[in-house]
């Protein structure tokens, strides 16, 4: 059984408050993915990094993109999620999908969804965690606007993708 959602929300809120109190910032997820990609590109093609104002920014002054708060936080997310799954007996390799669709279609949609989500998160400078949730907690207007845009758009598109879910 999953935790009562209001209690889980209180715990998540305390975690977010701790991030604000200890480190002076909110939570994040898509940023961790970005730093991994930037670091990987830096390791594979130094010339490309030098010629791109986008990548170059992350290596200024001998910075290492992986030495970043979000990267360490994301590693913690994997550990915490695993611990929770272990405690509640939910560790299992599984493809979760509606019986209406094949595993192959589920993988295709998950892959495309990942591309869209993280691309959009780079543009909006944060995802559901970094922009919407953390933004709302500090009353940032960007947080509220991003939250409404994410959920509004998902409701708008839900009809087209209903066969994938219900």
């Amino acid at each position: 059984m999953y935790m009562n959602p209001y209690i889980a929300g209180i715990i998540l809120g305390i975690v977010l408050l701790s991030a604000m109190y200890f480190s002076g910032r909110g939570l994040g997820a898509s940023g961790g993915i970005k730093y991994c990609v930037v670091s990987l590109v830096g390791a594979l093609d130094q010339e490309h990094v030098e010629s791109s104002s986008y990548y170059k920014n992350y290596f200024q002054g001998n910075q290492k993109p992986l030495n970043n708060w979000l990267v360490f936080e994301v590693l913690g997310v994997l550990v915490g999620g695993f611990a929770s799954g272990a405690i509640s007996g939910r560790l299992k390799f599984k493809v979760e999908k509606s019986p209406n669709i094949s595993a192959r279609k589920r993988f295709l949609m998950a892959f495309l969804g990942g591309i869209f989500f993280v691309y959009g998160a780079q543009l909006a400078r944060g995802c559901t965690s970094g922009a919407a949730l953390s933004g709302m907690a500090v009353l940032s207007i960007a947080g509220f606007v991003t939250m409404i845009a994410i959920f509004g758009s998902a409701y708008l598109f839900a009809w087209f993708f209903r066969k994938n879910w219900i």
Partner: protein, 202 residues
């Protein structure tokens, strides 16, 4: 007085360690809430499971009220806490793209990480797509840079924008959340899908 890392002038490595510990709490609460299940998350958009709304708004309000009270009692300097910068066009268009990704993939990046950590293979695939998405953004950045940095408004607070106090806005947000919670509970009855709920809990 918080933020601790600034007031005690702690080293960057301590801050990274704090980030790691906070991440553990983040991943743990996401998984306990059931955000490691894409069908549970997708329920938000078809009404049969509204956990997303309940967890999301409860967490935002707890952190908002907590930080306002800490600030009120002089325990946290809110001027030193990061406030997201507002780029009108990028926030809206980025959010719309994310919403499309949400309904296609069934996850957002954080929930996909918590799902991948317990072995959901579709979540691994979502995260692979996420790596590709971040790469595509970096490579197409010269084309969209002008739009991405346009209509910049700074780290604006919604309470200042409306012209009311932070406390009053927080109060209005709580009232709105209670109404939304009531509506969410109603939606779960109206659009209930016992077959899907059983699959989520199995």
């Amino acid at each position: 007085m918080g933020p601790v890392i600034i007031s005690l002038n702690l080293s960057e490595w301590i801050n990274l360690l704090i980030g790691f510990l906070i991440g553990i709490g983040f991943g743990f609460s996401l998984e306990q809430a059931g955000f490691s299940s894409s069908r549970k998350l997708a329920g938000m958009f078809y009404g049969y499971d509204t956990t997303v709304l309940k967890v999301f708004f409860t967490a935002a309000i707890v952190a908002l009220l907590g930080s306002q009270f800490l600030s009120y009692f002089g325990l946290l300097d809110l001027d030193l806490v990061y406030v997201n910068h507002y780029y009108v066009g990028a926030s809206i268009v980025g959010g719309v793209i994310m919403g499309a990704g949400f309904i296609m993939g069934g996850f957002c990046p954080g929930t996909a990480m918590s799902a991948a950590s317990i072995g959901k293979i579709d979540a691994f695939v979502f995260l692979l797509g996420g790596l590709v998405g971040a790469f595509l953004f970096a490579e197409t950045y010269p084309l969209i840079e002008e739009f991405a940095t346009s209509s910049y408004k700074g780290p604006v607070k919604i309470s200042d924008w409306i012209g009311i106090s932070d406390g009053l806005f927080a109060f209005i947000l709580i009232i709105a959340a209670v109404v939304l919670f009531w509506f969410a509970e109603y939606a779960e009855k109206r659009f209930k899908r016992p077959d899907i709920i059983e699959d989520i809990n199995s």
